[in-house]
C-alpha cells in the first residue's frame, strides 16, 4: 500500500465542504503549513476546524488563509485570539461569521485523545466553577467536583511530523510534536506533512511516536521560514 502522495493537492483532494478537520500545531511550531496552503487552494467550505489556534501569528501561511478565504464555519480552539492584535479570525468572529467553541487546552487534547480511543466522554476537574463549563454535567468523586466532557473526532487530521518512513511511522522534532500525534489517532483520514521520507527500517522502532496504523497519507512539506517577532 502506497501512502506517499506526490503533492499536497492530491493528498487532500477529497476534503469535502462541511468536513471536520483537525490541524496540528502550537503557535508557529508543528503546523502543517504546506497542507494548509493546499486546502486554501482546494477551496472546501463550511469546515469545522479543530486546532489549538485558528491562526494569526504567521497570517500569510497559517490557518488565517482558510479564515480569510471564508472556508471555516466553526472553530474549536483553546487559543483563538492573541493579545495586542486583532486576527482575521477575531474579525470574522466579532462579525458573527464564525462560530467559536473555546476549550481549555488540556480538555481540548484529552477530548481528542478520547476520540481516538473510542472513549465517548470523561470527567475532568478543569474549568469547574468557570463560565466555560456552565450548564455542563458535573459529578463529585472523592469530594471534588468534575465536569463531563465529550470526545472529539474528525473526518480528516492534517498533521506535521519530522520524518516518516514509507509505512507511515512518524517521528517528530522537539516541541513540534504537540497536538499532532494525538490528532493522528482521532480522524477517519490522517494526512501527515513531513520534512523527510525514509525507507522502512531506517527509523528506530523505539523512537517512533506515531505508529503507521494511524497514518493514511504522507506528503513531503515545503520549507517555510519561521519568523519570530
Amino acid at each position: 500500500m502506497n501512502k506517499i502522495f506526490s503533492s499536497a493537492e492530491s493528498a487532500l483532494a477529497d476534503i469535502f465542504s462541511g468536513a471536520v478537520v483537525m490541524v496540528g500545531g502550537f503557535g508557529v511550531t508543528g503546523v502543517p503549513f504546506t497542507l494548509i496552503k493546499a486546502l486554501s487552494q482546494q477551496g472546501a467550505k463550511n469546515l469545522t476546524i479543530i486546532a489549538n489556534s485558528p491562526g494569526g501569528r504567521l497570517p500569510d501561511i497559517d490557518l488565517t488563509l482558510l479564515i480569510k478565504n471564508v472556508q471555516v464555519k466553526k472553530v474549536i480552539s483553546s487559543y483563538p485570539v492573541y493579545a495586542g492584535k486583532i486576527s482575521a479570525f477575531e474579525e470574522k468572529y466579532l462579525e458573527g461569521q464564525i462560530e467559536l467553541e473555546m476549550v481549555p487546552q488540556g480538555t481540548f487534547i484529552e477530548r481528542i485523545r478520547a476520540g481516538g480511543a473510542s472513549i465517548p466522554a470523561f470527567y475532568t476537574p478543569t474549568g469547574v466553577g468557570t463560565s466555560l463549563t456552565q450548564g455542563k454535567v458535573k459529578k463529585i468523586f472523592d469530594g471534588k467536583k468534575y465536569v463531563l466532557e465529550f470526545a472529539l473526532k474528525a473526518d480528516f487530521a492534517l498533521i506535521k511530523a519530522h520524518k516518516a518512513d514509507k509505512m507511515g511511522n512518524l517521528v517528530y522534532h522537539s516541541a513540534a510534536r504537540n497536538f499532532n500525534p494525538t490528532m493522528a489517532t482521532a480522524a477517519a483520514v490522517t494526512i501527515a506533512e513531513v520534512d523527510y521520507i525514509v525507507k522502512p527500517g531506517e527509523l528506530d522502532p523505539e523512537t517512533i511516536v506515531t505508529p503507521a496504523i494511524y497514518v493514511d497519507r504522507i506528503v513531503k512539506g515545503e520549507k517555510y521560514e519561521i519568523r519570530f517577532d
Binding site: F26, G30, M102, G106, T107, R113, P125, T126, G127, A175
Partner: protein
C-alpha cells in the same frame, strides 16, 4: 510618579521563589521572561504545555531552533536532561498534580485568590490556553502582573469582574509594587518594592491588606 520594579525585575523576583527540583510551568507573557533569571546550574525544571520538559533561557539569535519554543512561541535553549512528549502527556502531568509551581499572568486576582486571566475586560473573546488546567492541577500558583491597570485602577480586587479562570487557586502575587500571599483570612503584604510604603501599596489595592510581621523591601 514612582513605578516600582521593571518587568525584568519582577521576573527576577519570581525566579527567587523556585527551589532546586521544582517543576515549574511558565505562562505566556511576563511569566516566560522568568526563564532567563533562573541560574544555569540550578535544578529547577521548566515544563511547557507543548510537551517540552527541561528548557532553559530565551535563546540568542544564533541558538534558535524554530521548533524549540516556550508557551509564548519564543525560542528557548534546552538543558541537559530535557525530554519531549506531546500535549496530551503534558496536560496529564498538569492535571495529574506533577507540576509544583505554575506562574501565570492575570487581569485580576481577588482577595480570596480567585484568578481572572483569559478574557480581557472590554474584549468579546479571549484565549484560555492551558491556564484553567494549570490552576486546577499545580501545587502552587504564582500570579505575576502589573499592580494596576494602565489607567491606575487596582487589579487586586475584592471580587473579580472579569470571567474566572479558577476559584481560590492563587497562592502568591508578585507585582511591580509588592509580594502578597493569599492567606485563609485575606491577603498578606510580605514585601514592598524599594522606596514604597505599605500605605502606597494599599491605596492601589482594593481589599484591605494584612501586614506581615516581617514586612520588608523586595530583595533580588
Amino acid at each position: 510618579m514612582k513605578s516600582g520594579l521593571t518587568r525584568d525585575l519582577i521576573a527576577m523576583r519570581v525566579a527567587n521563589e523556585f527551589h532546586n527540583g521544582d517543576i515549574v510551568n511558565l505562562g505566556i507573557g511576563l511569566p516566560t521572561r522568568v526563564s532567563s533569571f533562573i541560574a544555569e546550574n540550578s535544578d529547577v525544571i521548566l515544563h511547557c504545555e507543548n510537551g517540552l520538559m527541561g528548557y532553559g533561557r530565551i535563546a540568542h539569535a544564533h541558538e534558535i531552533d524554530p521548533e524549540l519554543v516556550n508557551a509564548g512561541s519564543e525560542p528557548v535553549t534546552l538543558k541537559p536532561g530535557a525530554s519531549y512528549s506531546g500535549s496530551a502527556e503534558a496536560f496529564a502531568m498538569i492535571r495529574g498534580g506533577h507540576i509544583n509551581i505554575a506562574v501565570l499572568g492575570a487581569y485580576q486576582v481577588s482577595e480570596k485568590g480567585d484568578l481572572a486571566n483569559w478574557l480581557q475586560p472590554n474584549r468579546k473573546t479571549g484565549s484560555v490556553g492551558g491556564s484553567m488546567d494549570l490552576v486546577c492541577g499545580s501545587k502552587k500558583v504564582i500570579v505575576t502582573m502589573e499592580h494596576t491597570t494602565r489607567d491606575g485602577r487596582p487589579r487586586i480586587v475584592k471580587k473579580c469582574s472579569s470571567p474566572l479562570t479558577g476559584k481560590r487557586c492563587v497562592n502568591l502575587i508578585v507585582t511591580n509594587l509588592a509580594v502578597i500571599e493569599v492567606k485563609p483570612d485575606g491577603l498578606m503584604l510580605k514585601e514592598v518594592a524599594p522606596g514604597f510604603t505599605y500605605e502606597e501599596v494599599q491605596i492601589v489595592t482594593e481589599p484591605r491588606l494584612l501586614i506581615a510581621p516581617d514586612l520588608h523591601e523586595i530583595e533580588l
